[in-house]
């Protein structure tokens, strides 16, 4: 197993990200239960702490908890991906000021390589990162620090769940803190351990993160493939996952790469972005998921002289899709918007978010995936409509009632549309 030389990783994870984005511009959402729904199937994709406390689960359909929502005056919002995408890009920009080596892991999480910062008080540095992101963008985060990415994830989990204290930051560099956290965190909360793996492990008496760390690596490999073995090593503090090599997260998925040589022409950038979108699509289909939005970003190298540029664009996918052609089209359109001639780009990436089971997505009669079929469909629709009256058959995506209902509770595009900017009373 290839090991990485000793490093220090930080994981910055935004708290209840979509809800926090909504709260930045609507202070009345502060302190009350707030939920954000997926556009297509009406299930919760984000919950405030107050809503979690009411027992509403991630992915739970709205109709199941209607009474609860009414009774507790839960504020239910449609998802607003252009807002979340913009704030996500701002958070990332803010983080890039703290270290040039950064991996955007999902729309609300980034790994920071903090190697070389050991001379300073890492906990204080983490607190400074957290306070600055909160101040600049309005988004609360938690920061976990450790010598491997898996342990940094665990440190972040500890910070979120206030396992050590309520400072919102956690450094697992110390032996006693690490031991305590490993012993209290259940094995299913370890990064990369799915529910099925946790069940298998549980039958062997491996119930906590500490139990997993103490497992024979070869045994872990037999049970959970090389991934499991790697997790055991990572929990022991031996880094096996450098930046940009991470398993896919559950709520969002990202494909990002640094370029070998800077990209200055649109054509190679377009190709790169299309390739990332393709890869992201494969990841989606492997998990049986569809995405509601796609974010594409690109930036210059912090190590090179010359003007710095960093930008991101978010494209909504309506309906949610796992179709590679739709993803490529969205990624290309987004990239085109933020592309600047004459800039030396060192990195680009595609992030898919708002992931929902593909089985729950409302089918679109005009899916671009099958153009030939689409054309036949259009012909048939036109024939029926001409014989039986206009609007007898219309594409599902144009049926106003359902869509308008969902749009009703969507917040404005506060940061990306001039007509939608927040109002301040003078």
């Amino acid at each position: 197993m290839a090991m990485v030389p000793p490093r220090v990783y930080g994981l910055v994870d935004c708290n209840n990200f979509y809800v926090s984005c909504e709260r930045v511009f609507d202070p009345r959402l502060e302190g009350v239960p707030v939920g954000v729904l997926s556009n297509n199937d009406g299930c919760f994709v984000a919950r405030s702490a107050e809503l979690k406390a009411l027992g509403v689960k991630m992915g739970q359909p709205l109709f199941e908890v209607r009474d609860l929502v009414r009774q507790h005056r839960v504020r239910v919002l449609s998802s607003n991906y252009s807002l979340y995408g913009d704030l996500s890009a701002r958070v990332t920009d803010c983080l890039r000021g703290f270290t040039p080596r950064l991996e955007v892991y999902s729309i609300d999480e980034s790994f920071l390589d903090l190697s070389g910062f050991e001379g300073r008080d890492l906990l204080a540095y983490a607190a400074e990162i957290r306070a600055t992101v909160r101040r600049w963008t309005g988004i609360p985060t938690c920061v976990g620090i450790a010598v491997t990415k898996t342990l940094a994830k665990l440190a972040n989990h500890a910070a979120k769940k206030t396992l050590l204290d309520d400072s919102g930051v956690c450094d697992l560099g110390g032996e006693s803190e690490r031991e305590h956290v490993l012993r209290v965190v259940p094995v299913e909360d370890v990064w990369g351990i799915g529910r099925r793996s946790a069940e298998k492990l549980g039958m062997l008496g491996v119930k906590t993160a500490a139990d997993l760390r103490d497992m024979e690596p070869r045994r872990a490999r037999q049970m959970l493939t090389v991934v499991g073995e790697r997790i055991v090593y990572e929990l022991r503090g031996l880094s096996c996952l450098p930046l940009d090599q991470a398993p896919a997260p559950r709520k969002t998925t990202a494909v990002t790469r640094s370029f070998g040589t800077p990209v200055t022409e649109w054509e190679p950038m377009r190709e790169a972005v299309a390739a990332y979108a393709t890869r992201a699509g494969e990841k989606l289909r492997a998990e049986g998921l569809a995405a509601e939005a796609l974010q594409v970003f690109m930036h210059t190298s912090p190590f090179r002289p010359g003007p710095a540029y960093s930008n991101a664009a978010t494209v909504e996918l309506r309906p949610a899709t796992d179709d590679t052609f739709a993803l490529i089209a969205a990624a290309t359109a987004g990239a085109r918007k933020i592309w600047r001639d004459g800039v030396q780009f060192s990195k680009a990436g595609v992030i898919l978010t708002g992931l929902v089971p593909v089985s729950k997505v409302q089918p679109d009669l005009l899916a671009a995936a099958d153009r030939a079929r689409g054309a036949r469909l259009m012909a048939a629709m036109d024939a029926i409509n001409s014989r039986m009256g206009r609007d007898t058959l219309v594409p599902a995506a144009t049926i106003g009632r359902a869509w308008r209902m969902r749009q009703e509770s969507r917040s404005p595009s506060y940061t990306t549309e001039l007509d939608d900017v927040p109002v301040v009373r003078a």
Binding site: P27, R135, V424
Partner: protein
């Protein structure tokens, strides 16, 4: 109120703003000028911390801030006495002059209209300085 965080100038990546507004005097040396004056750079030194809000109301007219103006709000700046700020007050975003007298905090309107009164911030739990207004933009033609 939140603990103020010092501004980190090193944490400032440059982000080009869409629809950059360029302005400049015609110059015979124009051919040698590499770039035009970029108002976005002038008005928005901290792009990732800067937000645009729309002003509604007439309480700040003497400060030159009018109904319908766009307020450019920098959240990376720590609010000081005498800054024009956007503050969260009773669940609403308000634009006022910040007055700090010892431990007392006031939000002061600046208008000849006597119906607007200064507010002393008594309930700090629901109060927060959201950001500092660094400039306003008035569109004279739409």
């Amino acid at each position: 109120m939140e603990t103020p965080v010092p501004v980190l100038m090193t944490s400032c990546p440059v982000v080009a703003v869409e629809a950059v507004v360029s302005a400049g005097f015609p110059s015979p040396a124009a051919d040698y000028v590499e770039g035009r004056i970029d108002l976005a750079e002038v008005l928005v030194p901290h792009p990732s911390a800067t937000f645009t809000l729309r002003v509604a109301g007439h309480s700040m007219t003497r400060a030159g801030i009018h109904d319908g103006d766009l307020a450019i709000v920098d959240r990376s700046l720590t609010a000081r006495h005498d800054d024009v700020v956007v503050a969260v007050l009773d669940g609403e975003l308000v634009c006022k002059r910040l007055l700090i007298r010892g431990r007392r905090i006031y939000l002061i309107p600046e208008t000849d209209d006597p119906s607007y009164r200064p507010t002393e911030v008594t309930d700090r739990s629901g109060f927060e300085v959201w950001g500092v207004v660094t400039s306003t933009v008035r569109l004279h033609r739409r």
